[in-house]
Subunit: 209 residues, 4 copies
DNA sequence: AGGTAACCGAGACGGTACGTCACGTCTTTAC
DNA sequence: GTAAAGACGTGACGTACCGTCTCGGTTACCT
C-alpha cells in the first residue's frame, strides 16, 4: 500500500479536557444525524457517484450550507456515515500469533466490506481518483487502522520463519488486501460467500513457506 | 476476478468477407482520430472525472452529436484512446512454462499500467462504480484479454506441481492482479520502480510450493 | 394592406411554350407529393412552429436534401401544401355589384380560413415575423389574389355612392380583412359559426353610407 | 376579439398589506433589470424568433436558471420588457363621449405599437401561434386593458344612436383593432405616418350612422 | 448503346440552443 | 454563530434540428 503519510489529529485528545469557548449557536447534533442518516438511506438506492449534496439536504431537511460547513465533499459524508454504523468499527485483537492475527483481520475486513458497505467504500475509492483529498481521507479514516497493523504481523511472521523471507513486506501487504478491494470494485458479485469463507486461509497459504 | 462471462462476437470473422452496405455518408475517420487525440491530450492535464464531453468536442473541433453517436460514455472514449496507443496492445507469448508465461504477462501489464496510462485505467475503474456498462466495457476491452490467460497458466502450474495445489485458482488470479490495480488506484506513487521490477517474481513466489 | 410590391413571375407564360432542356434525372413527382402529404398530416397534430423538416423527411421517406432542393423554408412547404388542397383555390366572381363581389370574396376567404386551414395560415404569418422571405411568400401566393381584388370594388363602391367617400381605400381594405386575420390568430375559437355567418354583411355595413 | 375570459387577481390589493414571509435569499432586482434590459437591447437587433434565452443570459451576465426560474418563455420576458418601458402604460381617459374615448384609445394604441415596440408585439403574436400560454399572456397582460374598454364605448355609442345599431359589438371591436394588428404584422412599413394620423377618425367613420 | 448530369435515399457532419441538474456561494430571517 | 431556505452565476449534461456534405444508386435525354 503506497498511501500518504500519517496525519495525526493532535486535537483529538485535547478536546475532552479543554472546554473551548464557542460563541454563538452550537452545532446541531440533530442536523448532523439527519444528514448522515439521509446519506445512508440514499446510498441504498444509488451509487455514491449519483448521490448529490442537494438530495441529501432535501432528504435531511437541512440547508446545503450546513453540509458544506462541516464536510468537504460527499465522499467525506459517506465515509462518516459508513464508519458510524455498527459493525464497521475496527477491533484490533490483542494477543495472537501472526498467522491468527492476519486471519482475524482479514475476516474482519471482509465483514466490513460485504454488501452495501462495500459499495460505499467502492464509491469512495472511485471519488478518490479525482481528488487527492478524498484519497487522504480514505487512508486516514479507513485504511490506516485496518491495513497497517498487518504490516507488523507480516514482518513478525517472516522473522519467525513462518512466512517466506524473500517476500517484500510492502508487496505482501498488497497481496493480502489487493484481492479484497478488487472484488469490492467488481460490482454485484464482488465478495461472494465462497470468497468470504476461503479467502483468509488462502491468503495466508500464499505467504507461508 | 468475478467478471461477466465471455461474450464471443461471432460476426468478427464474417466482417472481413461480407462488405456490408451502409447507406448515407460514411463515418469520418478524421473526426474519430481528432476525438481520441483530444481525449488523450486532455487526460494528461486532468483526471477522467474532470474531463467533459464538451471539452473534447471543443478541442477536437467536432460536434457533440458526433461523439454521442459513436461512444456511450466518456469512459468508452477513454478506453478506446487508451487502447489505440502504441505499447498497450496485449501480446500473448507463444511457448513458455507456466511460470515464465505468468511472469511475462505481469511484466506486460505493469508496462501498460505505469504512469499516464495507469491513471486512465484508474479513471475508468472509478467511472465503472456508477455504471454497469462501463464495468462490462472494462472487462471486455481490457481485462478479458490480459487477465484471463493467467487463469490457465495457474491451473497448469498447479497440475505440474510447481504451484500450491490447495490454492483456489480464482483467488490466486485475484492475488496476481489485485496488487497491481491497488497500486494503480493509489495515486501518484502508484507503480514505482521498485514495485515494477520486483513484483512479477514476488507474485510467483507466493504461488510456488 | 401595406404589402410588398408585386413580383411578377415573368417565366410563368414562357414555361408552357418553351420546353427547356433539363439534362439529368427529372424531379420526382412522387417525392413532391409525399412531402406535401406528410406536411399536411403532421400539421393536423402540431402547429407549424413545432413542425421540423426532419420530421417531414422521415414521414415522407425522403432525403432532407430533396426538401431543401425545392423549398426554401418550412413555411413555403406549408404554403404549397395548403394551396394544393381542394377548396382553397380562389375563384374571382365574374359579374356582380361591388357590394356582392365583396360579400362573396369575404365568404370565400372565411371558408378558406376556417378550422385546420386557418391554423396553417396563422403559422405562416407567425413564421413571417422572423423572415422577410416568408412575408413575401405570404403576399405573393395567398394575399395578392384574395385581398387585392377587394381594393377595386371598394373604389367602385365609393364612386357609385354606396360606400362612404371619406374612407381611405387602403384603410377600408384593412378594415375588411383585419378582423378576419385577427380571429385566425386568436386560437381555437378563432372563426366561429356566428362570426362566419354574420361577418360579410357586418363588414359591408361598416363601409356603407 | 375572441379572447379568454377575465381572470381577476383577487390578491392584488391584499399584497400591499400582508407582507408574506419568504424564507431564503430574496429575488435579485439587479438581475431582473439586467435581463429585461438585455432583452430590450437584443430585440433592437433581431426579431423575437431569433432571440435565444442563452443570448439574454450571456448579455445580462446572468445564469440561465435565473431566467427560467422567473419566466416561462422568451415571449414572457419580451412582454415584461415591453410593458416596463415608458410610454406603453395604458391610461384610461376618465370622462369623454364614446366617440372621443374610442378615438383617444386608438391613438394611444397606435402610439404603443409603432416602430420597435410594434415589432415586439408582432413577435409575441407569432410565438403565441405555437403556445396557448403565450396567447393567454398576450391577452392578460396587453389586450385586456387596452382592447376591452372599447367594448363598452361601442355599446354606449350604439345606445346613444351615434353608431349603427345593427353592428354586432364583438365584430365592431374586431374592426377597430384588426387593422392595427394587421399593420403591425405587415413588416417594416407597418404603421406609417399616414395610417397613424388618419386611422382613428377613419375607424370611427365606419361605426357611425 | 453509352455518356452525361441532375436527381434520389440515407445518414453523418459541425453547429446552436434547448431546458435541466448540481455545483458551491451568497443573502435573508430566525433561533 | 449556526440554522433553514432558497436565489445566485456557472458549466455540463444529453437531445433535437439546423442546413450542408458525401456516399451509392437511379433515371432521363443526347449523342
Amino acid at each position: 500500500m503506497s498511501m500518504p503519510a500519517e496525519n495525526i489529529d493532535i486535537d483529538t485528545n485535547i478536546k475532552e479536557e479543554k472546554k473551548e469557548f464557542h460563541p454563538g449557536r452550537p452545532r446541531s447534533e440533530k442536523s448532523r444525524k439527519a444528514i448522515l442518516d439521509a446519506t445512508r438511506r440514499l446510498l441504498t438506492h444509488m451509487p455514491l457517484s449519483e448521490l448529490s449534496i442537494e438530495a441529501i439536504a432535501k432528504k435531511a431537511k437541512v440547508g446545503k450550507t450546513t453540509i458544506y460547513r462541516w464536510w468537504p465533499s460527499k465522499a467525506a459524508i459517506a465515509m462518516e456515515a459508513f464508519l458510524e454504523q455498527p459493525g464497521v468499527q475496527n477491533i484490533i485483537p490483542t494477543t495472537a500469533t501472526s498467522e491468527e492475527a492476519i486471519e482475524k483481520q482479514l475476516e474482519s475486513l471482509i465483514r466490513q466490506l460485504r454488501g452495501q458497505n462495500g459499495r460505499i467504500i467502492a464509491g469512495i475509492i472511485a471519488e478518490s481518483q479525482g481528488s487527492a483529498d478524498v484519497l487522504d481521507l480514505l487512508y486516514d479514516k479507513f485504511l490506516k487502522d485496518r491495513v497497517s497493523p498487518l504490516h507488523d504481523h507480516i514482518e513478525k511472521g517472516k522473522a519467525d520463519g513462518i512466512f517466506k523471507k524473500e517476500l517484500n513486506t510492502e508487496i505482501a501487504l498488497d497481496m493480502l488486501v489487493g484481492p479484497l478491494f478488487l472484488r469490492v470494485l467488481s460490482g454485484e458479485h464482488g465478495i461472494d460467500n465462497i470468497f468470504a469463507e476461503s479467502y483468509p486461509a488462502q491468503a495466508l497459504l500464499a505467504l507461508k513457506v
